[in-house]
């Protein structure tokens, strides 16, 4: 479907609105959605990030690719494609991969507002981190650097790291 505003780009966001007393929907491309002030929507962040990670991280180990959130069964791909996070637990399950996206939206920061009334409701961040393996091998170290490079949009460095990761992996296979 083509964007109904510019009539050029493919539409990526569907906006529901009321026109003259009736509910209607307009399909927009990312640019027009932003131009018309729908930048609060997460839709094209997801698509952008999906493309970005798809390009750089396709060398990820199998089990990471297939990782499903225990809370809702979502994969990271689904989140990146739809732009919607499946459940609260997804934020722990995919913490490392979601954090660059969150930083791009809000900056590198953490919550400073109100908290729920009861302390026991809080999910401790330490337990959240355990979902992703923490021991670091040279390969994992490089993968971490790669993610950071992507986060900082340092694509030259990212390309170098991607090649190094590829070489490391191939080296392993030859052993």
């Amino acid at each position: 479907m083509i964007c109904q505003h510019c009539g050029k780009n493919p539409a990526t966001t569907h906006i529901k609105r009321i026109v003259n007393g009736e509910l209607s929907e307009i399909a927009l491309c990312g640019d027009c959605a932003r131009k018309l002030g729908y930048n609060g929507f997460f839709g094209d962040w997801g698509l952008q990030l999906g493309n970005l990670l798809g390009g750089f991280l396709e060398e990820e180990p199998e089990q990471q690719q297939e990782l499903r959130c225990k809370g809702c069964g979502c994969t990271f791909d689904e989140i990146a494609r739809t732009g919607r996070v499946g459940c609260a637990q997804c934020y722990q399950t995919f913490r490392q991969r979601l954090s660059p996206m969150i930083q791009r939206i809000h900056g590198n920061t953490s919550h400073r507002g109100k908290s729920p009334l009861k302390a026991q409701l809080t999910l401790r961040p330490q337990s959240a981190m355990q979902v992703v393996q923490e021991e670091s091998s040279p390969l994992e170290e490089k993968q971490k650097l790669l993610r950071e490079a992507v986060e900082k949009q340092n694509f030259e460095l990212a390309a170098v790291l991607r090649d190094e990761i590829k070489a490391l992996k191939e080296g392993k296979h030859h052993e």
Binding site: E22, L36, F42, L98, H111, L117
Partner: protein, 345 residues
């Protein structure tokens, strides 16, 4: 009950520019996937849990809120909720498994199973950010007594869209900006505001004019700022915008052409036999400009606020009980409303 004035029938602080204030809080139940990952039966369980907490016999709120399952509404009634800013278009587009809690004066609404399990919304006339936040936060606390919310120390309240993480709070002001729109600097202003973490957009989503120069100014950043900081940021910047708009209005109203347009607009509103939505909103905007600058006397700002909500198509045909009205009948109804309201003013 009919005597109770709705927020859109009043006018508040800085009411010459700020029509209304809205504070929205997004909350999700702990341990339950977000609504888009729930089937209808699990959505129903979320509804039941919240119904129990809010409407149940031991609830603090019993009698305060109306419980409105969206699927029980006619299309007209559902669209009218959006016209009165009580629900989002997205919310009414999929009625199944969704309900609205609505206070009798329509100043507090809670969308259940929209993008998040709970979206608390407080609406108030004029500039009233702190008061609206206080009310929303108190309701949040009261719900939290009965319900556990998904929360993380670093990410704050966990929401379906990462854009809402942190406070989950979106505060917005509905602004009438005819002079900034006329001077053509509104787009530049919007892009400057965007650098300050705020978003300014036409309240209709496209081309301000068709919605009578109404704009929405809201905070974009929800993580890393406390609610109070976000609100005071929004208020400070909105005051600058208000000054700009007022300055531009003063110049605009000195022009004989503008005075002519404003005076004619009131004349048309008072004497027209048919009024389409778009023309109506434009005329109302012109009259609002005239009233707020003191050029037109004898019309209260709240009269215009009331008209701009009650004159919307679905809200207009709601009392008739009809799902559709031929265009002309709708316009006749609007003329009736306008004349009655203006003569009572």
């Amino acid at each position: 009950m009919n005597e109770m004035k709705k927020w859109y029938e009043k006018s508040g602080a800085e009411g010459d520019v700020v029509i209304s204030t809205r504070v929205r809080l997004a909350r999700n139940l702990r341990g339950v996937p977000f609504p888009s990952h729930l089937d209808d039966s699990r959505k129903k369980r979320v509804l039941e849990a919240i119904h129990e907490a809010v409407i149940g016999p031991n609830s603090l709120f019993s009698g305060f809120f109306m419980w409105i399952p969206v699927a029980s509404l006619s299309r007209t009634a559902a669209v009218s909720l959006v016209e009165r800013h009580l629900a989002s278009p997205e919310f009414i587009s999929h009625p199944e498994g969704r309900a609205l809690l609505l206070s009798r004066d329509e100043s507090i609404s809670v969308m259940i199973n929209e993008e998040d399990h709970i979206r608390i919304q407080v609406l108030q006339e004029g500039l009233s950010l702190k008061q609206a936040w206080k009310t929303a936060s108190r309701l949040d606390d009261a719900l939290n007594e009965r319900l556990s919310f998904a929360f993380d120390e670093h990410l704050g309240y966990l929401t379906q869209y990462p854009t809402d993480l942190g406070t989950g709070m979106r505060a917005s002001l509905m602004l009438h900006l005819p002079a900034l729109e006329e001077s053509g600097i509104i787009n530049r202003t919007a892009s400057n505001l965007s650098k300050l973490g705020l978003s300014l957009r036409s309240a209709s989503g496209e081309g301000g004019e068709e919605n009578g120069c109404l704009y929405q100014l809201s905070n974009r950043v929800t993580l890393g700022l406390s609610e109070e900081e976000a609100l005071s940021n929004l208020e400070t910047i909105s005051m600058q915008l208000l000054r700009q708009e007022r300055g531009a209005r003063e110049k605009l109203m000195q022009r004989i052409e503008t005075q002519d347009t404003v005076a004619r607009s009131l004349g048309i509103l008072q004497t027209a036999r048919l009024l389409g939505t778009r023309e109506f909103m434009k005329l109302l905007s012109n009259v609002r400009l005239g009233v707020s600058s003191g050029f037109l006397k004898g019309i209260a700002p709240e009269t215009l606020n009331r008209l701009s909500v009650l004159g919307q198509p679905a809200t207009l045909r709601l009392p008739s009980g009809q799902e559709e009205l031929p265009g002309m009948e709708q316009e006749l109804l609007r003329v009736g409303l306008v004349r009655k309201t203006l003569s009572g003013a």
